[in-house]
Amino acid sequence: MLESYERFPTNFLTAHVYFTQDAEDATLVARSVQGDAAGFATLVERYQRVLYTVAYRMLGNPDDARDAVQASFLKAFERLATFNPEHKFFSWMYRIVMNECLNLIRDRHPEEALTPALAAAGGPFDTAVVHERQVQVQAALLQLSPDYRAVVVLRHFAGLSYDEMAAALGVPSKTVKSRLHSARQRLGERLLGWRTE
């Protein structure tokens, strides 16, 4: 009975689970530094999808997301030799991607609206409803401050733990936890009518 109250960790409910492969990543990084092209190519292939998702959720625009991910991998490659193998490659990558996204957001002109890209209209009613809801959620995400948005995105779309998010964002775990709580509260207020704290 009590088990029914258990909830799987966020994002692990979905089919898209990103199991990190730390040891393998470290090997691939080492190979890449030695000039093995396939090594870095494997890392790109392994993480490009989740990193693109993270960038898209942060930026709300496919072109910007693509630019951010590309620039991140380029920076990562350029600095590969400085990568500390004691750390996790994916945490490092998330940090680079997140910084790239935050820089893009910071440099945006104020008049640029943070609205999600809408897909073409049409289709069955249910699909339209689901789509509309997703647009609302994405819009609500984009209305969060970048700091709050980052923790929600990393938690829900990259499946990072508090410590991993802390490493990616360069803040203490407690800050991550606090931001995540506040971010969810704001999203709940906007999306589900939660009472303002």
Binding site: Y5, Q48, T53, R66, Q70, A71, S161
Partner: protein, 475 residues
């Protein structure tokens, strides 16, 4: 729903899967006993599920390729040791990312162009480096620029490793610049079939030739490469081996050869013939192929079909093959019978005779050669000897005779072995150069039929009779 902060924290931790055993037990107790906690848990679950429902976003098609291409294009190197050559990628990329454009080599390009160029760059780098055109230098650290997917099942991961300075030197070379600025090259290298062909070990080995590398800069080669059929041909081990020859590499850049490759499926089939490929590796033939006319001749279906079925090495390495470059002969080679005859050594020797080569420039003769009957007649073994006769060759330069050749009657007469023997006579051959006789042959079916008569031909072979008969014919 409002719950105490510590309970809220537990509920958040539950969503995030970070509860300790003690926390989980405490929360479960609260959930079982406190309705407000259950309601709040449901709210948080609902929110989490709404967020999760957004799901992943599919990256743009080919993003991995684009990333790897961009690395190669920007010549980014791993900044290690004392030998690091750090590109100004960071500032460029940052600026470009914010402006919607890319900066490459000091040139501001639109996104679309940049993607195409980058895709081509990584392929070129992967192939060229793999093949040894860009050998890693001692003491340098590696540069990644090749996509694993390009090597796929044909090139092992370990085979694709780019040396950084050599790769960068290549990127900065005029050849690379020329390649990347050529839209056809970019399009060609972006073609999946071309990439697969380039990734095959055989082609890769062929591309190790510096001449081939240089040839890649040729727009003609690029256009040829853009054809899937050409790519498939290049993937043929025999063709690839042939391409490894510097001379053939030079021929590859000849507009005619590349054009023939692109235009002629039969040539591509023929090129897959190991014997032909081997023949193509002949320095003499390769040099000949560099001539546009000869290269274009390879596009002749008749020739290539014939070559594919015979011993092309023997055929093509002879001096006679150079005559293939002539437009008239090319046209004739489209005739299957003539192409078959071309496989005959005597016939080829005949074609190599200076007199006949000149005769082949005649539009009339070219038209005659296009006639199946004439082609078949000329392909006779006995006729070859006649054709090698300079007098007959001179006669062929007579437009009237050439025109006469195209008439069905003359063609049928020429098919007569006895006439062929008679034509080997210098006197008869010389007589045929007479415009009047040629005109008579063309206009008088009976005379053409008479030519095929064994007795008449035999008489013609006797010089005196021939001279007399021909003089009579003039009247």
């Amino acid at each position: 729903m409002s719950v105490r902060l510590e309970i809220e924290s537990l509920l958040q931790a539950r969503v995030d899967g970070t509860l300790t055993d003690g926390e989980r037990a405490e929360l479960n107790r609260l959930l079982a006993t406190d309705r407000d906690v259950r309601l709040r848990a449901a709210e948080i679950d609902a929110l989490a599920e709404m967020i999760d429902a957004l799901g992943d976003v599919d990256p743009p098609a080919g993003m991995t390729d684009q990333i790897l291409s961009a690395i190669a294009t920007h010549a980014v190197s791993v900044p290690v040791a004392h030998n690091a050559r750090i590109a100004t990628f960071e500032s460029n990329t940052s600026r470009a990312a914010h402006s919607g454009a890319r900066v490459d080599g000091g040139t501001v390009m639109g996104k679309k162009m940049m993607w195409g160029l980058a895709a081509a760059a990584v392929i070129a780098l992967a192939v060229l480096n793999y093949t040894g055109i860009l050998p890693p230098k001692e003491g340098t650290e590696g540069t990644v620029g090749a996509a694993k997917r390009y090597s796929a099942s044909q090139i092992r991961d370990t085979d694709v490793a780019l040396g950084d300075t050599s790769a960068q030197e290549f990127i900065q070379s005029p050849v690379f610049e020329q390649m990347m600025r050529d839209e056809k090259v970019r399009q060609a290298l972006a073609d999946k079939d071309v990439r697969q062909a380039l990734a095959s070990p055989g082609v890769a080995a062929a591309l190790a030739s510096p001449g081939v590398a240089a040839a890649l800069a040729s727009p003609g080669v690029a256009a040829a490469l853009a054809s899937p059929g050409v790519a498939a041909a290049l993937a043929s081990p025999g063709v690839a081996a042939a391409l490894a020859q510097p001379q053939l590499a030079a021929a590859l850049s000849a507009p005619g050869f590349a054009g023939a490759l692109a235009a002629s499926p039969s040539l591509r089939v023929a090129l897959s013939n190991p014997g032909l490929a081997q023949a193509l590796a002949s320095p003499q033939l390769a040099a000949a192929l560099a001539k546009p006319g000869v290269a274009a001749a390879l596009g002749s279906q008749g020739l290539t079909n014939a070559l594919a079925k015979s011993s092309p090495g023997v055929v093509m390495q002879g001096q006679a093959f150079k005559a293939v470059g002539d437009a008239g002969l090319r046209q004739a080679l489209n005739n299957p019978a003539f192409a078959k005859a071309f496989m005959n050594a005597d016939f080829r020797n005949m074609l190599a005779s200076p007199g006949l080569a000149a005769a082949l420039a005649s539009p009339q003769l070219q038209a005659a050669l296009a006639s199946p009957g004439v082609a078949a007649a000329l392909a006779q073994p006995g006729m070859a000897a006649a054709l090698a006769n300079q007098g007959f060759a001179a006669a062929l330069q007579n437009d009237a005779f050439a025109k006469a050749l195209a008439s069905p009657g003359v063609a049928a007469a020429l098919a007569s072995p006895s006439l062929a023997a008679a034509l080997a006579s210098p006197g008869v051959a010389a007589a045929l150069a007479n415009p009047s006789l040629a005109a008579a042959l063309a206009n008088n079916p009976g005379m053409a039929a008479a030519l095929a008569s064994p007795g008449f031909a035999s008489a013609l072979a006797q010089s005196k009779f021939g001279e007399a008969g021909l003089q009579k014919g003039e009247q």
